[in-house]
């Protein structure tokens, strides 16, 4: 039952094959079994069971609220949840209990969804590995999959298997791992530079970033206001569309949500792609791209072509400047956004009581990790009076050039762009942490952040397994507010490639002893 998609399990609930309480309990038990993945920071067991009970009552009365009623979901721990601790994986917000729900959380709950818990991330969503949070790194479920383990056995080297677990990507790695390991049917992530699509690609699931302005950010603790969007992680494209349908639309509490009348996001099954024009941006063929991902990318392009779509090479000439531009805009907005954390009104507060400023400074030293402090300092540097024009305003100009690149390509008749999501498949943790956070983010966000700067919708769809038995994802980028068209194309593609299901049964059955040891080593979870 847990391996089903959201749509399938929703049908099972409606037909009475399983009740919301049973489903919730199954998920809770799997969350406990997979605790070593460190996917969740907080498991909201009591709340979840209560919500499941209410859902069950509704089903019994025949008054179900719709497709999401009784469906277990998870939410990244940078969305405010009323009465449930919201930490952003930072010491700064440990113990912070928001008095209100983020709009997206409220909308899911209003539809009857059952909130299983809050998922792990890089501190304040700054990172691309889900390795830099105050609650420890998230482990990729594929590290324990039959597919990956069988490939590893063939290799002669005798490294310890357990220390070589793979990263999930990030920063929404907890949400990706939670969905990938079947502990929930959909999860919310956030996407500022690729934080939903990157872990989705590494965890073999669908990661969708909606158009900027389509989904409310109210209650999402901001990283970069001009780029942040809530992301959706699911096991198939249809499920992402269902969740988007629940979330999209104007929110009076977020003035950046557009007021166009909302449409339901029901995806038709595309049978004919011959009218489609797929653009392949030539600048995305970078030397760092692994040959395997490159080959899946070109196979995907060939697939569209062989089915009659027009596939053309296009140019986004400012691509190479994009990651630098993103770096400046991101740190600058971070410097401004993070000023709110001073220990006075909420969050961590130090013991120093000499003066207000001394208290602020010590609180922030204790509350933020090196990565966050580094970005705050860099951002403040770029915003200095004599640097403002050369760095911040300059980056805003480059941003326009990058956004215009996309406009030009779409105006030339391209419907959807096809690119890789990541340079390679997920890497083992020891390898990942050899480089610092900034370098990693610059490498890992290379294909994803330009989309955020242009505000476009994009989705990562799992394509196939690499030679190592690990998932590889490809990214589709659509026109602004053509989210439905984008997902329709992604759905067609998903159907063609038939990505294999992760085989975790062995993990559940025979690895418990390994996990006991790992559990001791990892940071303990709050329940």
């Amino acid at each position: 039952m847990l391996g089903r998609t959201l749509r399938e399990v929703s049908a099972a609930l409606k037909q009475g094959q399983i009740t919301p309480i049973e489903l919730c309990q199954k998920c809770l038990s799997l969350i406990k079994k997979t605790k070593f993945l460190n996917a969740y920071i907080t498991v909201s067991e009591e709340v979840a069971l209560k919500q499941a009970e209410e859902s069950e009552k509704r089903y019994k009365k025949g008054h179900s609220l719709g497709d999401l009623d009784g469906i277990p979901i998870a939410v990244k721990d940078n969305f405010s949840t009323s009465g449930i601790e919201t930490t952003c994986a930072s010491n700064m917000l440990k113990g912070y209990v928001p008095p209100y729900n983020a709009t997206v959380v409220q909308r899911l709950l209003d539809q009857g969804a059952v909130l299983m818990g809050k998922t792990n991330l890089d501190e304040f969503a700054m990172g691309s590995g889900s390795t830099d949070g105050a609650f420890g790194p998230v482990k990729n479920p594929w590290s324990y999959s039959k597919q990956y383990r069988e490939k590893r056995k063939q290799k002669p080297h005798g490294e310890k298997e357990d220390s070589n677990w793979l990263i999930t990507g990030g920063s929404s790695g907890g949400s990706a791992a939670a969905v990938s390991a079947f502990t929930c049917f959909a999860a919310l992530g956030s996407d500022t530079g690729g934080s939903t699509r990157n872990p989705a690609a590494h965890c073999g699931i669908v990661g969708f970033k909606p158009s900027y302005g389509l989904v409310s950010r109210h209650g999402l603790i901001p990283l970069v206001n001009s780029m942040d969007v809530p992301g959706i992680l699911t096991r198939c494209v249809d499920d992402a569309a269902i969740v988007l349908g629940m979330l999209a639309g104007h929110d009076p509490k977020d003035s950046t949500t557009i007021q166009d009348p909302g449409k339901p996001f029901m995806l038709s099954s595309l049978t004919d792609v011959s009218k489609l024009c797929i653009g392949i941006p030539k600048e995305y063929l970078v030397p760092e791209l692994s040959s395997e991902v490159r080959s899946f990318w070109s196979k995907a392009a060939n697939l569209f072509e062989s089915e009659g779509a027009k596939v053309i090479e296009v140019s986004l000439p400012h691509t190479s400047h994009s990651i630098v531009c993103y770096h400046v805009l991101c740190t600058s907005e971070v410097a401004s956004n993070m000023a709110r954390f001073d220990g006075l009104e909420y969050g961590h507060r130090c013991d120093i009581d000499v003066s207000t400023e001394a208290m602020y400074a010590a609180t922030r030293r204790e509350g933020f990790n090196d990565v966050v402090r580094g970005r705050i300092l860099a951002g403040n540097f770029f915003l200095l009076k004599e640097n403002y024009a050369n760095y911040f305003a300059k980056a805003q100009k480059v941003r326009r050039l990058i956004a215009n690149d996309f406009v030009n390509v779409f105006n030339s008749g391209v419907d959807v762009l096809l690119t890789p999501t990541t340079l390679s498949e997920a890497v083992p943790y020891p390898e990942f942490i050899k480089e610092d956070n900034r370098t990693r983010s610059a490498q890992d966000d290379i294909f994803t952040q330009a989309v955020n700067m242009a505000g476009l919708p994009a989705v990562s769809v799992p394509v196939a397994l690499s030679n190592q038995g690990l998932p590889v994802g490809l990214q589709f980028i659509g026109r602004a507010f053509c989210d439905q068209q984008l997902l329709t194309v992604a759905k067609w593609f998903e159907k063609q490639v038939q990505f294999p299901v992760i085989q975790l049964q062995e993990l559940m059955d025979d690895c418990s002893s390994v996990f006991e040891i790992e559990k001791l080593a990892s940071v303990s979870l709050q329940q």
């Binding site: 206001n225 001009s226 770096h327 580094g374 480059v398």
Partner: protein
């Protein structure tokens, strides 16, 4: 038409605010207890320009001790180590690549929704009376007040703790 005028009006307001170089940085403060409530009131806020001492190491890749100290005061975050200074220098060197881009005649882009009308909700009170809820997240309160240490003392020059900088 009306909303369009409001949008333009807002832009000029943002422009005014960008020129306003107060260290107090009022727009980054949020309502009590609402760490995520920003989107409610504002769209993409342009981070304010910050004042700085005359010396800086622009383009040289090296940051002077004076700038480091200044940044620490502005950010209320200390570097804490020589590595942190090196990290900043790397970040600046990385950002310097932007200089290669020709942006003559290009307007800065603040928002991808710049060509859309900005929504303003009507000015009615729709929620409130949540003082207790909001105060719950503060460590120190007296009655209905947040308690701060004395506010009229600026961050002392830490003579004993020299900021990290290059020895040359």
């Amino acid at each position: 038409m009306w909303a369009r005028a409001v949008w333009l009006g807002r832009r000029s307001w943002m422009g005014w605010r960008r020129g306003f170089t107060s260290k107090g940085d009022p727009q980054v403060k949020t309502g009590a207890g609402r760490a995520g409530g920003e989107a409610a009131q504002e769209t993409e806020r342009v981070p304010p320009m910050t004042p700085s001492p005359a010396s800086s190491a622009q383009g040289s890749g090296r940051v002077t001790a004076e700038v480091i100290e200044h940044l620490e005061r502005l950010a209320l975050v200390d570097f804490g180590s020589q590595e942190a200074v090196a990290r900043l220098e790397k970040a600046i060197a990385f950002a310097d690549r932007l200089r290669a881009v020709d942006t003559d005649g290009v307007e800065p882009m603040e928002s991808v929704l710049e060509d859309r009308c900005l929504y303003l909700r009507s000015d009615n009170v729709v929620e409130g009376n949540c003082v207790e809820e909001l105060l719950q997240n503060a460590h120190r309160v007296v009655e209905e007040y947040f308690v701060a240490p004395p506010g009229n003392i600026s961050l002392s020059k830490q003579d004993e703790q020299k900021p990290f900088s290059h020895t040359d």
